[in-house]
Symmetry: C2
Subunit: 507 residues, 2 copies
Amino acid sequence: VGPEALLSWKSKRTFTSFGVFFLQMGWGDLGVFGEPSKETPNLDQMASEGMLFLDFYTANPLCSPSRAALLTGRLPVRNGFYTTNAHARNAYTPQDIVGGIPDSELLLPELLKKAGYTNKIIGKWHLGHRPQFHPMKHGFDEWFGSPNCHFGPFDNRVLPNIPVYRDWEMIGRYYEDFKIDLKTGEANLTQIYLQEALDFISKQQASQQPFFLYWAIDATHAPVYASKHFLGTSQRGLYGDAVREIDDSIGKILKHLQKLGISENTFVFFTSDNGAALISAPKQGGSNGRFLCGKQTTFEGGMREPAIAWWPGHIPAGGVSHQLGNVMDLFTTSLSLAGLQPPSDRQIDGIDLLPAILQGKLIDRPIFYYRGNEMMAVRVGLYKAHYWTWSNSWEEYSKGIDFCPGQNVSGVTTHTQEEHTTLPLLFHLGRDPGEKYPLSFASDEYQRTMEQISVVVQHHKATMVPGEPQLNVCDKAVMNWSPPGCEKLGKCLKQPKSDPKKCFWPH
Amino acid sequence: VGPEALLSWKSKRTFTSFGVFFLQMGWGDLGVFGEPSKETPNLDQMASEGMLFLDFYTANPLCSPSRAALLTGRLPVRNGFYTTNAHARNAYTPQDIVGGIPDSELLLPELLKKAGYTNKIIGKWHLGHRPQFHPMKHGFDEWFGSPNCHFGPFDNRVLPNIPVYRDWEMIGRYYEDFKIDLKTGEANLTQIYLQEALDFISKQQASQQPFFLYWAIDATHAPVYASKHFLGTSQRGLYGDAVREIDDSIGKILKHLQKLGISENTFVFFTSDNGAALISAPKQGGSNGRFLCGKQTTFEGGMREPAIAWWPGHIPAGGVSHQLGNVMDLFTTSLSLAGLQPPSDRQIDGIDLLPAILQGKLIDRPIFYYRGNEMMAVRVGLYKAHYWTWSNSWEEYSKGIDFCPGQNVSGVTTHTQEEHTTLPLLFHLGRDPGEKYPLSFASDEYQRTMEQISVVVQHHKATMVPGEPQLNVCDKAVMNWSPPGCEKLGKCLKQPKSDPKKCFWPH
C-alpha cells in the first residue's frame, strides 16, 4: 500500500471503527510466535491476513498501568499509574486502592466520542473502581465487566467479591453470581464477553455508527478458567484451554465483522498488557517464548508482547513489521484513523503506527521499561540497556515467588536492586533475544552504542514531568462493598471505617 | 487427502524423487517456529505450502550418529555409531576416528539404487573417512563435500585440513583451497553447495531419472560462515547471515524443482541433525526456542528439531502435524514412497510417516533419547521420562563449557550423571515444554503414566541388540593425510605411525 492508498483512505475516513483485544498472553503463547502446541488457528490466521509485530511492547510489566497507558497514550509515570512508596515497584489497582485515572487525563474514548464514536469496554477496567473513576465518566458509553481482576476474594465474607457491571450498575459478583469453579476451572465468562462483543458490533452496524470496542477480558489471568466446551481440549492443560477459547472467540468476532460487511471499515489490533505470569506456570502460566523472565520484570519476557494488526483491504496480508511499537501507540494511531489530532497540551508517548502498517516504514523511537517511576531499561534499535536490574527480592524469592523460573542469568536476573546507571548492561536483542550475554564494557560496540543511547535517555529524563502518583494509598473502606445497583440486588455489604495506609508493593 | 489419493498416488509411484535437507539448526531458528527476527521467508513458505512437524526429533544430540541413523533407519546404538569408552557419552567421527559405517548396514541410497534411483550427497558425510566408509561404497552415486566437519585444523601443518571430495577423489582442502575467513566469517561454500544441487536436479530432470538428493551442508556449524552477499544482513549477526543464506538456497532449490515441473514428483524434507549449539552462542550459536539446553544434551533443546515436509499436490498446504517423528523415519518413508520394503532381517526404528503426512493420522510410537548406549530418556505421547540426567561434568563446566547457558533447572540440568531409573523424572511436554516442572512422584498422573512408559521401556530394552561400537578407537594415523586424489594435487601429507587409543569423549 503506497501513500496514494493512505491518502485515498484518509479522504473517506468517516467510518473506521476500532477493535482492540487487550489480554494477558505472553509473546510465546501464539502458534504464530512458536508455541509448540500451535493451538491458536484464529490468531494465526488473523496474523496471516494482517500484520504481525515482532517488536511490540507494553508500557509496564503489570496490568493497570499498561491499561492506563493504552487509553491515555502516555507512560504510567505521566498519567499517575505508579507508586513512590518504595523504589522501582510495580503497582496496580487492587480493591483497596484509593487512586484511579485522574480526570485531567484525556482517554481515547473521550476523544473519539467527540467524533461520533460509540465506545464500549468489555472486561476488566482496572483504572480505579471508586465512583469518579467509572469508565463511563471517562468516555465509554457502555461497559460490561469488572473494575478489578477476578482473582480473590472468593467467598464474599471478609472482603467483598469483585462486582460485575453493566454500564452504571453492578449486576452481580464474581464467584457468587458469575461462577468460576476453582476446582475444575470451569467458567463461561469468556462466552459471555464474546456474546457482548458480537451484540455490540451488530447494533453498531445496524445503526451505521462507528465504534471503539475495547475487549479487555480477564482470561488468561490466574485463576485460569475456560468454559465446558473447551476444558481438557488443549495439550497445554487448563491455561491452553483458556487460550483456545480466547482464540476461538477472536475468530468469531472477526468473522462477525466480515459477515456484517464492515471488516474493511474496522481496524482491529490484538495485544497484551504484560508478559505471561511465569509464577503461575506450569498449570496456570503462559509462555514468553525464549525471552527472559515474565510479568513483573523489565526483561523482554515481562514486556515484549504478541501483536497483530488486522484491517482487510488496507493492511497487506501476511505482513511482518519490526517497528518498535508500544500499546500507547494504539491511542495515537486510533486518533489518526479517526482524523483526530492527539492533545497538544501534554506529552504523548504513543506514535502513529499507520506509516509502519500501511507503508512499511520504520520509525525510529525508543522503548522505555519502567518499574514505578524508575526507568529500568531502554531499547534503541536492536540494543537494550539496563540501568537497573531486579527480578524480585531475596525475601520474596525465598517464599517461592520466582519471576524467572529455570532462568538465572548471573548479574542480570538479580534479587537485589542493582544500579548500573554508570555502566548500563547492554544487550543486542537480535543476536541475543534472551538477554543472556551482556556486551563487554570495553568493546567498541558498547562505547559507540551507549553514546547514542545516553542522548536518548538524557532527553527523556530532562523532559519527564511525572504525574501525581495514584497508587500510593490503600484503604479497606474503598473496596467494592456497596457498588451502585447493590440495593436492587440486595448485595450491599457493610463498609468498614476508613483507614488509609501506604500500599505495600513487594515487587 | 484421503486414502484414495494415497492409493492413486501409490499406483503411479515410479518417479518420486527425494530431497532431504539435513542441517544443524535449532527448533527456534525458523521464523515459523517463533524466531523473533523472522528471517527465514523461504522455509516459512515451504511450511505454508507443506506440512510442519512440531514434535520431530533427531536420533542423537550429535551429528555423526544422527546422520548414520537417518541413512540406516536405525538407532545409533544399533548401527554402531556410539561409544562404550565411558558411560553415556556423545561420540562422533573426528579425523582420528578409526570406525565408520559398517558394511553390514544397509543405507537408504543402497536400497534406492536397486529401484533405479540416482543418489547424491552434497556436504558433510560424517560416517567415517577411511576408504571402506566412502559414501560411494554405501550407495551414493555422487558426492560433493567433506568427510568430516569444517572446524579445524585451519593451517594444514600439524594436522591435515579436512579434504573436500568430488566423487572418489579429493579436489582440495578447507581453509586452503576452499577458503573460510575466520575473521570476517566470509566463505562461499553454501553457494557452491547450492549450485551442486541445482545442477544435479537439472541433470536428473533432463534424463528423467528419479533421484535422492541428500543436502547435508556444513553451515551453520561453527565456525559459522556466509558468503559476501549475506554478510551483515541479519539482525542475528553472523549466525543469522548463515541461516539467511541457507534459507535463500533452499528457496532456490524448491523454485528450481517447480520451474522444471518436477515438484509434484519430488518429496522434500527439511530437518536438523541436532539442536542448536548453545555453547557457540550468542555469536555463532542458534536457538532452540523455549526448549531446555542444546546440542549434546537429551533435553528437548538437544533433540527436538525443526521439520517440514513439502510435496506440492500431495501434501495439503499449511498442514501441521503432532506426529512424534524421528529422522530415522525418513529412511522408512522414502522406501515406502519408492515402493520398497524396509529390510526384514534387522530391527528398523524408523516408521513410515505417509499416513501422518497424507491422511493426518497419528501413529503411536515412542521417542528414545540416547547418549552412547545409555537410554537417557523416553517420550511417550506428551510425557517424557528421564532415566538419567546430565548436561556435562563439573570439570568441563568449570572450563566454561555450558550446554544450558542461563538455564538451570535444579535436579534436572545436572552436572553429575544422575540415575533416576527407579523413579524417573517425568515431564508433561504440553504444559511444560521447557522441562522445568517434574511431576510429583506421589501424583496419580505420575503413577498412571509411568506404568505405561515402563512397559514401553521394558520392551525396548528386552529387544535391544547393540551393534559393534564404531566410535571407541582413535588413531592419528587414519587422519586425512593422503586422501585419494592427493597426488594429482600435490597435497599428500606424511602419515604418522599408527598409535590406536581409546577416544576421549568428555560429554
